[in-house]
Structure formats: C-alpha cells, structure tokens
Symmetry: C2
Subunit: 340 residues, 2 copies
C-alpha cells in the first residue's frame, strides 16, 4: 500500500542515478544519444524505482495527445461496437488509444462528451452524429480539433467523413423483397432527424416506384431500438389482415428483432410466410434471431479503421485535404425473407 505516497518522477530517477533530468529523458526518448554506461545505470534505476512516465505532463508539453475520442449514438447497438473495434485496432497500430463516449441516443450526452474530449485535448474526435445540428461540432472544429464524421456524409467541406450509401442500401433491401413477390411493403424507422432513416427510406421509395402494384407504407418509430421495434410490431400485428403489409423493411436490425419478437408473440403472424422481414447492419445477432434475419451488411470494422486513418492523416499531413469516403452496402439473405 502506498496510498498518498507521491509517485516516482523523472527527478527521482535522475537523483538516484546521479545524472541530470535531461539525460533520463533522453534515455527514454532517444537512447542512442546517451552513452552506454549511463543508459544502463538509468534503465536499472527506472526498474528499481518502478518509474512510469507521466503521460499527463508529457502531453502538456507536447500540446498533442495520443488519444482519440469516439462518440457513438448508442453503445448497446453492436454495429457501433464493431466500429469501435475497428477504430481501436487501427489506433493501436499507431500507438494511440481510443476512448469511447456513449451518447445513449441523447443529444445532450453527445454534447457532454464533446466538451469532455475538448477539455482533454484529444488528438481528434470521431463522431456518429445524431442530428443535423452542426453547431457544437463546428465549434470543436474552429478550436482546432479535427473532427471526422462517421457514418454520415459531410455536406460542408470542413470535415472528413465516411459513410455507407444508405440510399443504395434501402434500394437493395426493398428490391429484394419485391423480387420474392412481396408488394405491400412497410418501412419501420425513426426519428427522421437521423439521416440513416431518411436515406434508407428514400432508397426504399425508389425501389418501389415503377413496380406495378407495389406500395410503401411508413411506420415511424421514436428510436432504433428493440423496444421500439416491438411496439410497432404490436401495432402491425393488430391491423386487420387485409390492411397488413406482406413485407417489412426495418431501418436497423435492432428494430427488426423487436418486430420479430412481437410477431412471434402474436403467433398469428409467421415470418416469412405471412410477413417477410429484412433489417439493416447485419449485426452478429441477426443470424441467431428467432428467424435468421436477412439484412444489409455494412463494413463496420473497416469504417472504424478508416476513420482513425483519416484522422491521422488530417493531424499529421499539412497537405491534408478533407475526403469523403463512401462504402457500398451488401445484401445478406437469410430465412426471414424466403419466398412464401
């Protein structure tokens, strides 16, 4: 126990090794500049005293940290976890660390983490924004902290951004439903402040257009969660059969899983016989849902990795120009959309 005992500093090491502070620092940072015997002496003292470099002081001096802040919409969504994993892996390669802030679907908490990261002088911020309100993010940017918009295309050219083509994804999903013979399609998702929701719906609309007899009905959820999915599922299940859709496109897999639960509970509705169902994100649990879930896959790890790489480029390359990277979604077919 050494509660309260002040931790060993570089000064202590210097004293014990009978060298100057500068020498110890050199041993740590450019050992080739230090003579053999001193280096050995210092290294040994470091070992003996259990010295650990104080990164706080180091950062203060350097004015730049090796920590990247990542703000995600909802850490309960495995999709964002995958992004985080990708980012972590890339950061590790660069000798950096990722610290995660979970906005938990609340814009207020999003702001809270942005403030915190700003105070901590992180090297940059990766964020999956929740609303179109860019004021806070612009502020960060104007203070000189690089920001990368993840899973969203920047309209301005102030940021790097990376995103999957959600319109294409929506189109893929609904085209697939149509190809299995479904015509009365429902779209479940919300709130509309999320561009993911808007874009996927747009793609869905486009797919429906021009197909004779095909229609798209909208069911607005308040969040992209299992709970909301279940709620809307009950609504759909309660509809008279002739007004019920024969296929549902859910804005993400969590919502789809909620729908599935509701349908399974009202045993009257079978998936895919009565209603076909497709989700979005292709999270791991889609495979293991009550009925294995068709979905639109996004390269989540790659997104996370690329975000960190863009940040690194922005903060080291003086020639850096903001880029907007686009990824393509991919259809994954499972039981939930088998032809009836």
């Amino acid at each position: 126990m050494n509660r309260g005992r002040p931790p060993v500093s570089i000064k202590d090491v210097a004293r014990h090794a009978n060298v100057s502070i500068g020498t110890v620092s050199n041993v740590l940072n450019r050992p080739e500049m230090v003579s053999e015997d001193r280096r050995r002496r210092v290294t040994q003292v470091i070992e003996e005293l259990g010295y650990v470099r104080n990164d706080v002081a180091r950062q203060l001096k350097a004015g730049q940290s090796l920590t990247v802040g990542l703000v995600v919409q909802d850490s309960a969504n495995p999709f964002y976890n995958e992004i985080a994993l990708g980012a972590e892996a890339a950061a590790e390669k660069l000798g950096q660390a990722v610290i995660l802030g979970n906005a938990g679907l609340s814009p207020a908490r999003e702001g809270l983490y942005l403030d915190l990261f700003q105070e901590q002088r992180v090297r940059g911020v990766l964020i999956t924004p929740q609303s179109a309100d860019r004021a806070r993010i612009d502020t960060l940017r104007s203070r000189g902290i690089p920001v990368i918009l993840v899973d969203e295309h920047a309209s301005s050219s102030l940021y790097c951004s990376l995103a999957v083509d959600d319109i294409e994804g929506g189109r893929l999903a609904v085209e697939h439903l149509l190809s299995t013979g479904r015509r009365r399609i429902a779209f479940v998702g919300g709130p509309d402040s999320l561009h993911q929701v808007r874009d996927r719906r747009t793609g869905a609309r486009r797919a429906v257009q021009g197909v004779p007899g095909a229609s798209l009905e909208d069911f607005a959820s308040e969040a992209l969660t299992v709970l909301e999915g279940r709620r809307i599922g009950e609504q759909i299940a309660d509809l008279p059969q002739d007004r019920r859709p024969d296929a549902v496109f859910a804005a993400n897999d969590l919502v789809a899983i909620g729908l599935l639960q509701a349908f399974a509970f009202h045993r009257r509705i079978r998936v895919p016989e009565d209603i076909a169902l497709i989700g979005y994100d292709d999270i791991d649990f889609a495979t293991s849902a009550i009925v294995p879930l068709s979905s639109i896959r996004q390269p989540a790890r790659l997104i996370g990795r690329t975000a960190v790489e863009l940040l690194e480029d922005e903060s080291t390359d003086p020639e850096h120009r903001h880029r907007h990277v686009s990824f393509q979604p991919e259809l994954v077919v499972r039981d939930s959309t088998a032809a009836p």
Copy 2:
C-alpha cells in the same frame, strides 16, 4: 480553420481582460471570491475568445484525474456493455468520465490497457480480470492506483471487489433443468482460467449430486463466444443419439446462442424438445434468440454502478476499508427449457 494556431490559454484571457492569471483561475474555480465587474469582464472575454480549460494542465497540477479506466474482457459481449453503462452513469453523477479498454479476450491487450491507464494517471481502474495472474494488477496497486476487481472476488484484501455468486448461479441453472425432468446434463464452457467457468461448473456439479440418475458431462470451449458455442454445438449434434445429453447448461448466453445455431442448422435437434438449453447473463438478445433462451440474470448495471462508487470511496475516504460486495443471480425461464 485554425490549424496550427495555438489554442487560447488562460494567459490570453488574462491579458485581454487586463487581469492577472490568478484572477481568471478564480473566476473559473471560486467565482464568489472575485468582484462583480471583473467576473463579468473575464467571463465575457472567455466567451469571445472561446477559451476551453486545458484539462491536461489541470490534472498535472492536481496530480489526480477525473477519469476512470475500465478494462473489460470482451466488449462484444453485451453483458460487459451493460456493466459499462452502469459505470458511466455513476461516473457522470460524480463529474467523472469512464474510458473503456477492450481486452478482446487477450491477456496481452489487458496488460496494454493497464499500462496505458497507468501512464494516463487515471483515478482508478475497474477490471474484469481474465486470468488468475495478479502480478500486473498488484503492480498497479503498489504504485498507488486503486483497483477494483469487477465480477470476481478478491482473495487478498488488497482490493475492493464485487461479484455475483456464480456457484449459486450454476446451481440454479442445473436445478431448474433437473426440475423439468432432464437428467443427462452437459456443461459447455471454458477456458478454465476463467473463474466464472469454474464456479458455474462447480454449482452445476453440486446440483447434480445426490439426484439419482443425474449426470454432468463437460464440454470445454476455448472462449465464451458465439463461434465456440457453434463449434461445440456441432460436436454435440454429431453424437449418436443415445450418448447425447438431454439438457445443456452454457457458461454464458453467447455460447448458448452458438449452440442454438448449431442445433437449428442440424434440424434434427429441436430445442427444447430434444435438448433443453439454458445460458448465463440474460443479455437482451437472449429474449430474441431462435428459441427464447432461459438464462441466469446478473445485475450488470448495478455492478458497474457499484464499482464506480467503491472506487470513489477508496480514493476519497482516508478511512476506506476494502469491501467485497456480493450479488445474487436470478433464474429467468423462457421457452428453451420448457418441459418436454
């Protein structure tokens, strides 16, 4: 864009407001000590210049940070995510932040994050350790950084710890299986270095003992993941029917979901008719599995919250005595263990 432009410091604010550095600091930290007009002047300049306190410098001076490090075994497991959510919520109340390190089931990465947190001089570390090797953790402790063992009972009295009674949990699970008439029970889990695995198995053994005709067979997995669950599931499915168990207790829900997938793929095996299945942790996705999964619930959020509170106590109360908090698990019955 102000790339490169040095950020605004307290000095700049002082200069613009025609006051001393100390006064600005006072406006920030004890505004009641500063006269009305100066306070206004300073506040206004802060606004104009967009000054943001540099937390790095603040921490250096203070020698203590407001950041808590949390190292989890595997962030892909929703159970640990729940713990993180609980910890975050509690930290927020104390004006602190949680930074997450994901060991990804690798002891090496666990060590890496411990080093990182140590360099960052975090206020303390919450960790769900992966092996019995306490050397690294002891080192941290001896350097004066408080450590809380999460989901594990400390044998020594050097740490606070909190855990769920896994022996009891194992007993609950298998007793339930026995109560539905199953006798040939299989336990799937590993590696044995995880006390969770050992304890849950021990509980299972105790439940089986003394029940005539009941047996417990062991299937060792290499990790507690969906993938490993699927692998063992294939093995079990390939057994001749007379050597097959009639119930499986999986060491956690991810493994259980993997088993479920394997059984569903080999359509020969129906759950619960042919084999009953129970998992552990009661993650959200247990409800929405192919067959809704029975499980043993642990109060994950509460665990996270309590961990932060213990840490706070340890780092502020000079009278602090290490505590070992125990939680009770709870049986949740769903379709996967319905009587045959």
